[in-house]
Point group: C2
Chain length 331, copies 2
């Protein structure tokens, strides 16, 4: 096809990748040749350089409304390129996750975005040695892959300080039980839970600490809140480590006949669209999922283009106070 | 077969994969041989290239909480087999959808589950001729792929009759604007909207008919409800064609200072987990997403194993009344 268009294969490749340094005239010539020959970009590209123009995405689950924010950002970054994202569901469990990642590698994707993987760094680096990789969520340093994550310590601080500022003393936390092989210090849920405890202690509220380790899911939030509400004295506020878990906690609160925020304040994390729904109006932490996804996409494309040095990108989160948090009831 | 057609096996493979670089004459010769010998394209192609043990899934979007129900069912069916699902996001638009499907075909998946595709039957059959295919959502009869869908006519009837039974006369509907190439009679959103109008007419409520055609999304529900609430007289009930759109309608109702169900009743469709949340408690229609996904998975595995006859599977939906619907306000 390159011969047909009267241009070099490098130029064709550049046009197909929407790369810089291609003149409009050359772009037109190549595109015309593509149309005339009925060439499809991936087929053509594969023939030339072995690329598949697919980006593999590992998702821990499909129910967490935070992940579509990330995917929106990624797709925005890929729009205008010939790359197409293909996704696999990782969990539950590291075995299923390893298998899902293998499927992406076998399908010869050009790059992989792993969202909150449960596998440890050693295994992720094995994958990254074969395929350009960006890991989103884990706070791990690697020389082989790029990392995009939230400043989870700051995010958790913002929530706990907000609740303490409202006058709460018995603030409980719903966390995610570490089931994977991520180093504790690098696991976002461990960081959020540890920060919660630290800030409580710093304010002399050791006695108000109460943690339920379930999972960042609707069911996990429900079970966690039930366990926490059974305590005596009852917490006056619950900080769920994820909005999805906060939704489950909301169900447990309603079942217990407790009003939010009159009886118990509730805060989440991720500032998902569900948190913004007027009937839920959940105080939450915004870590800019779309911006994370865009950044991850950009880093992946850079790696595919040949960057080998490693990059870490940390998002500074903000608190979004809504109607689910208020002063504790007078007692 | 290659010998019979007088062409190389590479050419046969190319024709079977609809690859480029095959002359029309050669394509005709191969197709004729295929027909004469009763060869099945996917079986033939698979025999040549081997299985990949991946099932491709087309999702219209990642935000609709109904789709994870379907995926849960599919994954349940695939558990214990060596198959792994890989997903692509189709929309928005038929061009993006076609490209997403191409990516699955290029990745040589063994079977494809298309959830609510917007492409028409002709294009879907081209894909199904290459890869075993099950289409979920569309009410289209095909000799080439299997279909799994809800009895959307019954589902819409259940909702509208429920609202009429509560005493509502001005019942509005939020529908999905047909943007794709699905025949109107086969499009689930057209069936739901047409059934709504039919049942209204059958009850002498022509004057109460009010339709906003936006989309089955949170934004679509919000815009649709805003348009409907601006009417005078205002509808006393809104039937949104999907739970996700009902959530958007809920936001518009709250912004307008209207209480649900005291001022306006609201019903959705899909009985998602969001509908069951106590703070939303949305009356909805259950079409058994997990069962649909399991069935689709079973049908795909059967096709991969060699079944060539076509199957249609229709789900009988049920109404799940909750707190979002009640008698209209006295006026």
């Amino acid at each position: 096809m390159a011969r047909h268009a009267g241009v070099s294969t490098t130029a064709v490749s550049k046009v197909l990748r929407n790369a810089y340094g291609v003149s409009p005239a050359m772009r037109d010539r190549v595109k015309a040749a593509i149309e005339e020959l009925g060439y499809r970009p991936h087929a053509a590209a594969r023939a030339m350089r072995g690329r598949t123009f697919t980006i593999g995405v590992l998702l821990p689950d499909l129910r967490n409304p935070f992940f579509p924010d990330i995917l929106d950002g990624l797709n925005e970054q890929l729009a205008g390129t010939d790359y197409q994202a293909i996704m696999v569901q990782g969990g539950p469990g590291t075995e299923a996750e390893a298998r899902a990642i293998d499927a992406l590698v076998d399908r010869q994707v050009d790059g992989i975005l792993m969202i909150a993987p449960e596998l440890g760094r050693a295994r992720l680096e094995e994958v990254a040695a074969q395929v350009p990789t960006v890991v989103l969520g884990q706070h791990e340093r690697s020389a082989v892959y790029d990392a995009v994550h939230d400043d989870d310590e700051l995010g958790a601080e913002l929530v706990v300080r907000h609740l303490i500022g409202l006058g709460h003393r018995r603030i409980a936390h719903i966390g995610h039980r570490p089931g994977g092989r991520v180093r504790a210090a690098a696991a976002l849920h461990v960081i959020r839970a540890a920060t919660y405890e630290r800030v409580m202690r710093e304010h002399g509220l050791e006695d108000g600490i109460a943690v339920a380790l379930t999972s960042y899911s609707e069911e996990g939030g429900y079970e966690g809140a039930r366990a926490l509400l059974a305590r005596s004295p009852r917490p006056t506020a619950i900080f769920a480590g994820a909005d999805l878990a906060a939704l489950g906690a909301l169900r447990a609160l309603h079942e217990a006949g407790l009003a939010v925020p009159q009886d118990v304040s509730l805060a989440g994390y991720d500032n998902t669209r569900l948190a913004a729904l007027s009937s839920i109006s959940l105080t939450s932490v915004d870590q800019g999922g779309a911006a994370m996804g865009r950044t991850a996409g950009r880093l992946l494309l850079e790696r595919i283009e040949g960057r080998v040095s490693s990059v870490r990108f940390s998002v500074t989160p903000t608190l979004v106070p809504r109607h689910s948090t208020a002063a504790p009831p007078r007692s």
